[in-house]
């Protein structure tokens, strides 16, 4: 199982003011805030740690259910420019982050199992209005997965469980495939194990 999260840096710059009073304090631990404030590019570290926390949260809820907003409880450790760890309760998640000039994209997996998703694809999304963008993302995921598994697109549908965790459903053979989806601004990505 892999979780993922993407931040479009241009959208983040216009939608989120990470310097606003209370913003860092609500999302990050005291240690993470120190790390951000001493970084050469604090903004990049803010979004890197945020995507690490979000992708770890997505695996946790896929496996254990529930919904909550507790970003401070997901403790980030940055190990290199790419690798990191997120610790939540007794769980340790391993993360990989890709930082480009356009976006920050993290994936996370249970540390003991390693990170090797079957598909991990990042793509651009045209249009800005919901629900057209969501449909575009869903169709792209179904098309990519059908191609990768040599099946018909019409065999698959995308649905969400009662905790809003998405999954692909194979209508012909009636089985579910867990999936992690993220979309922000001009970018979207998905991972399937």
């Amino acid at each position: 199982m892999t979780g993922n999260d993407i931040v479009d840096l241009a959208s983040a710059a216009s939608e989120s003011h990470w310097k606003r009073k209370g913003f860092l304090e609500k999302l990050f631990t005291a240690e993470e805030q120190r790390y951000i404030r001493s970084a050469a590019s604090p903004e990049l570290i803010v979004w890197r740690m945020w995507t690490m926390k979000e992708s770890a949260y997505k695996i946790y809820t896929q496996q254990h259910g529930g919904r909550f907003f507790a970003p401070q409880k997901f403790n980030c450790r940055i190990l290199s420019t790419i690798l990191g760890e997120v610790i939540f309760r007794e769980h340790i998640y391993q993360t990989q982050t890709q930082c480009t000039a356009e976006y920050v994209y993290s994936i996370a997996g249970v540390k003991a199992l390693g990170l090797n998703p079957f598909l991990n694809t990042c793509f651009t999304v045209s249009g800005h209005s919901y629900p057209a963008t969501a449909n575009f993302v869903y169709q792209k995921i179904i098309a990519d997965y059908a191609r990768a598994t040599d099946q018909k697109k019409t065999n698959y549908t995308l649905a969400k469980d009662r905790n809003y965790v998405p999954f692909l459903y194979n209508k012909a053979d009636r089985y579910c495939i867990p999936i992690s989806i993220t979309h922000h601004g001009r970018y979207a990505a998905f991972t399937i194990n």
Partner: protein
């Protein structure tokens, strides 16, 4: 403060972060901030900070954990206001 007044002021607060206009038009106490309004999870913290400023209350981490819907926000605001 009546429930109607509370929902009205929450509507003003969340408006800048909403990405699903249809959900916003039909916003009730059963509306979910993330799934119905499509508010970005990074903007959820802005909603929380705006609520703190608007009502002059402090939302602790334990309350913040539940802050995913209009109903939860209303309960938390009402509780915090009564403690003042």
């Amino acid at each position: 403060m009546t429930n109607e007044a509370l929902i009205a002021s929450l509507k003003t607060i969340v408006k800048p972060y909403v990405r699903n206009e249809e959900g916003f038009k039909n916003m009730t106490e059963h509306t979910d901030f993330l799934t119905d309004l499509q508010i970005n999870s990074a903007n959820l913290v802005d909603v929380i900070l705006d609520i703190e400023n608007e009502f002059d209350i402090e939302i602790d981490n334990e309350s913040m954990e539940k802050m995913l819907s209009v109903k939860a926000a209303m309960e938390i605001i009402t509780t915090k206001l009564s403690e003042k």
